[in-house]
């Protein structure tokens, strides 16, 4: 049960932005700008952005965000969808590009302790072709999910157990993006 009265029975962050559209609006605009548009010189696809979000949420053990963003990533990867679960299971052996692996390493350090993002991990990503925009977007995706995860868990929002609930969410996120639901 959520820690506060949300007056709706939506799951996860959706329940929070319906309860408080004043903060929900910038939170969804940020997700849309980061996960769908990105920096001008960035080489990251929407699917890769969703995978970074799911990966950080998995590291933070926020099941709702992990499952919903993994579902969005699977939808956007299409035929390559299995790479999502392979990455969440083991980054070292997952069949992702060297560039994405290097960026996921940066994301991992941002989520854990941002002071550990050293010059050498950034250089390693650049050597694999990452641009300034890729580094920027990776750091801010990882930082923002360090916020979204804490917001969703800190208020103990409803987390569906049924995997099919997330498939529908992933398809909606993959097609419509981040559109604020109607407020309570």
């Amino acid at each position: 049960m959520p820690h506060i009265q949300l007056n709706n029975d939506a799951p996860g962050i959706r329940s929070l932005v319906m309860y408080r559209p004043d903060t929900g609006k910038p939170l969804y605009e940020l997700a849309q700008a980061l996960l769908r548009a990105g920096s001008a010189d960035s080489t990251l696809s929407d699917a890769e952005r969703e995978l970074i979000a799911a990966f950080v949420s998995s590291q933070n053990r926020t099941f709702f965000c992990q499952q919903s963003h993994a579902a969005a990533a699977r939808y956007l990867y299409g035929e390559q969808a299995p790479v999502v679960d392979q990455t969440l299971e083991n980054l070292e052996t997952a069949p992702v590009s060297f560039k994405l692996r290097a960026l996921l390493t940066i994301a991992q350090r941002v989520a854990d302790d941002a002071r550990t993002v050293t010059d050498d991990v950034v250089e390693a990503a650049r050597a694999e072709g990452a641009t300034d925009g890729d580094v920027h977007d990776t750091v801010l995706i990882a930082a923002s999910f360090s916020m979204y995860n804490r917001y969703v868990d800190g208020l103990a929002t409803l987390t569906p157990d049924d995997p099919t609930a997330y498939t529908a969410m992933g398809e909606r996120m993959g097609t419509l993006g981040y559109v604020l639901p109607r407020p309570n």
Binding site: H3, L27, R109, V110, A114, A143, Y151, G154
Partner: protein
């Protein structure tokens, strides 16, 4: 040295915000509504100064020098804390700081959020309510703490530069109090 090529001379979060104005806009909207506008809502009992204290406390726990110094300076401005001693006492040990028991209960929640959302307990929520916190206050506390876990990581994850000058933070605090958080005003005082 910062990890990416920002416009030189922009401190802290302003470097990445200048690099990415598309994300700067919702980030500033979020802090303006959370730290400023909501303080005036009828169901809120948290003042602007108290909201800034929560952000400062979380930033100190994350060891983010830029964020704890600028938000500490804004908190001090609101709370009449001219020598910054109140803010210092909250960062060092808020349980003995001269603040309300309600704010102490909310800072306990913020401290749990900083560790991870699942660390917040029903007991902490009950305690905050017993001290007079509304659901709105609890919501805002959790989101302020969560948001600073993002801002701190954005600032430190890109290894941005932070000024040392106390005068500059006090000058910036005045600007924030005057017109809010923006990525579009000139940062430094006129020469």
């Amino acid at each position: 040295m910062p990890h990416i090529d920002f416009a030189p001379g922009l401190p802290g979060i302003r470097g990445p915000m200048a690099f990415s104005p598309e994300t700067a806009r919702p980030l500033n909207d979020l802090v303006n509504v959370l730290l400023r506008t909501n303080a005036n809502h009828p169901d809120s009992t948290l003042s602007e100064g108290e909201r800034e204290l929560i952000g400062t406390y979380v930033s100190a726990r994350n060891d983010c020098f830029f964020c704890q110094t600028i938000h500490g300076s804004v908190a001090s401005h609101h709370l009449g804390d001219t020598d910054w001693s109140l803010v210092q006492s909250v960062k060092q040990d808020y349980t003995h700081a001269p603040i309300s028991t309600k704010l102490k209960a909310l800072l306990a929640i913020a401290g749990s959020v900083q560790q991870g959302g699942k660390y917040v307990t029903a007991g902490q929520i009950d305690k905050a309510r017993a001290e007079g916190a509304t659901d709105r206050d609890i919501h805002d506390t959790v989101l302020i703490a969560a948001a600073f876990c993002m801002f701190n990581r954005y600032v430190d994850g890109l290894d941005t530069w932070a000024p040392e000058s106390r005068d500059l933070y006090q000058y910036r605090a005045q600007k924030v109090v005057e017109y809010g958080y923006t990525h579009e005003d000139p940062y430094m005082p006129p020469a």
